[in-house]
């Protein structure tokens, strides 16, 4: 059984028990002692009863003595009953005081601790990022002041959060505009140059236009294709679909992807069969393609790119290692951010897409890199039992 550490309330209760109840019990003990003294004194008065057995010589004396004895006996009886009443009522009053004081005490402790519980709950909300939580400023003065400070803090946090969101949105739009402008400007220049050459030839030597027309058209078509790819990149990043997971052998899937690159690049594969992963096939294709493309972009044309699959406990580890230029230490923690790129040509969306697709499929992507030596991207995916 887990023992709970006593809190402030528990200590207050203990203190109340010691001071209030203990004090009353001591007081009661004192009164009881006094009552016992009175009782023993009353018992000492019983000797006068012997008067009843004495002979009185005259009838007047007898009547007088009878009256005195009766009076004495009635007084004794009365005092005895009153003493009993005192004992009984003092015990009752004591019980009443303890019950009443305990009730009042519990009421006030709960009244004091309820706002603290509210504050704790509100602080928890703040911790979770909900800055719109505000407390009603009620209760005793100190509690109202505390709640007021809390509310001021939450209003400020809320305002800061809103400002940050606006600033973040603005920054994203600025970045996006910069990237778009850059990416659009790049293909536009060759297109513009090709058209200028055609215009120039048309003005100076219209018959000779046939000579430069095919390469100019090829340049324009190539740059239009670049535009299409750019649009596709943005589109892919914007619309990541819900994963349609299925079980497949990652080695087979990677081999299929590698076929497109093998003619032009040196891919070294170590891909044992027999493992199964659960991943969206299209997402997997996008992830592996993007990492291979990234490795190709970072490497020299004849530098090998190694692809391997291994198993660690219940996880399948897919590694893609290049011997390219590597990534600088200050950049490595930003490479999965959207629109971040060190390449002269690129949108900075490739690795951001990889990260997002891995998250969507509950996989982990890691990167190790040394500038000048190359990078290793590692994909960690939970194995599926056949």
């Amino acid at each position: 059984m887990r023992l709970m550490k006593p809190g402030l309330r528990a200590w207050i209760f203990v203190l109340f028990g010691i001071v209030a109840i203990g004090g009353l019990v001591i007081l009661n003990g004192f009164f009881q002692k006094q009552q016992n003294k009175i009782e023993s004194t009353i018992d000492a008065l019983t000797d006068i009863k012997e008067l009843g057995s004495m002979a009185f010589l005259t009838p007047v004396d007898s009547i007088q003595a009878r009256k005195l004895i009766n009076r004495h006996q009635q007084s004794l009886g009365f005092v005895k009953i009153t003493l009993t009443q005192t004992r009984l009522y003092s015990a009752l009053i004591l019980l009443g005081i303890i019950l009443a004081s305990s009730t009042i005490f519990v009421f006030f402790v709960l009244r004091l601790s309820r706002p603290l519980a509210e504050l704790r709950e509100a602080t928890e909300q703040i911790r979770r990022g909900n800055f719109s939580v505000h407390l009603p400023e009620t209760g005793i003065y100190e509690m109202r002041a505390l709640k007021n400070s809390f509310n001021l803090m939450s209003y400020e946090l809320e305002a800061v959060q809103k400002r940050l969101l606006v600033a973040e949105k603005e920054m994203i739009w600025k970045d996006l505009s910069r990237i778009l402008a850059h990416e659009i400007k790049n293909p536009l220049t060759p297109i513009q140059l090709a058209i200028q050459r055609l215009e120039e030839r048309l003005g100076t030597n219209p018959e000779g236009i046939k000579e430069i027309l095919p390469p100019a058209i090829a340049i324009i078509q190539q740059e239009i294709e670049n535009f299409r790819l750019l649009a596709q990149d943005f589109s892919n990043f914007a619309k990541i679909s819900q994963p349609q997971k299925e079980s497949f052998d990652p080695a087979t899937a990677i081999r299929e992807i590698c076929k497109s690159y093998e003619a032009d690049y040196k891919l070294v594969c170590n891909l044992p069969d027999g493992f199964l992963i659960s991943f969206d096939r299209t997402h997997f294709y996008q992830v592996i393609t993007n990492i291979i493309q990234n490795a190709i972009d970072a490497s020299c044309h004849d530098a090998p790119i190694e692809l391997s699959i291994s198993k660690d406990r219940s996880f399948i580890i897919i590694s893609i290692r290049d011997q390219g230029c590597g990534i600088e230490n200050e950049s490595i923690h930003r490479i999965f951010e959207p629109y971040y790129t060190n390449k002269t040509k690129g949108t900075g969306l490739g690795l951001a897409l990889v990260k997002k697709l891995c998250d969507t499929n509950r996989a982990v992507i890691r990167v190790k890199s040394k500038p000048g030596e190359g990078s290793t991207f590692t994909l960690i995916i939970e194995e599926v039992k056949a």
Binding site: V25, N28, Q32, I42, K49, G52, S53, S62, R66, K67, I69, N70, R71, Q73, Q74, S75, L76, G77, F78, K80, I81, T82, T84, Q85, R87, L88, S90, A91, L92, L94, L95
Partner: protein, 182 residues
């Protein structure tokens, strides 16, 4: 019914407070089980008090004032009350002679004794006869006892003796089939 529950709650609170905060023992009166004898024209009921006069009564009885002990007999069937009779046993002490006079008004019996113990035994006993009604079948017979206020004339003071029983009103109940018994 409510009165009985109320008196039980009060007696419970008093007993609890005495248990917690006082070494005073007082008296815890109880009634002996009822005994009934059904004659041709009457029902005789017998019972008695126990632990009723153990403490604090000595000086009260010896005050010379008449001390009454009241008994109430109720015969009912369900909510129908057939009989509610009140009877009193009284004790009067004569300081000059040292004799106790015990009077049972239910039987008309009067006893004089110098012994305190004999007086206690006598005043604790209760016996009464109630005219039998043939309509009575399954009935509940209840006898309860109580003390009342007493006025000490010589010192002109009135006290409630119930306190000596810690506000307990002892009772004894018997469910009987009078038709079958007869």
């Amino acid at each position: 019914m409510l009165e009985a529950i109320g008196s039980k709650i009060i007696a419970g609170i008093v007993s609890l407070s005495m248990f917690l905060f006082s070494s005073y023992t007082g008296n815890d009166p109880a009634m002996r089980p009822l005994q009934i004898v059904i004659g041709r024209s009457y029902v005789q009921i017998k019972t008695g008090l126990t632990n009723a006069f153990v403490n604090d009564f000595n000086d009260v009885f010896r005050s010379g004032t008449t001390i009454p002990v009241e008994f109430t007999v109720t015969i009912r069937s369900g909510r129908t009350v057939f009989v509610t009779n009140k009877y009193t046993n009284t004790v009067t002490y004569d300081p000059m002679t040292g004799l106790y006079t015990i009077a049972h008004n239910a039987t008309g019996q009067r006893i004089r004794t110098p012994s305190y113990q004999s007086m206690i035994v006598s005043v604790s006993q209760f016996e009464c006869s109630i005219p039998y009604q043939p309509a009575w079948k399954r009935v509940t017979i209840k006898v309860d006892a109580g003390l009342s206020e007493v006025h000490f004339a010589q010192i002109d003071r009135t006290v409630d003796l119930t306190v000596l029983w810690k506000y307990i009103r002892p009772s004894s109940v018997l469910n009987a089939d009078l038709s079958r018994s007869s």
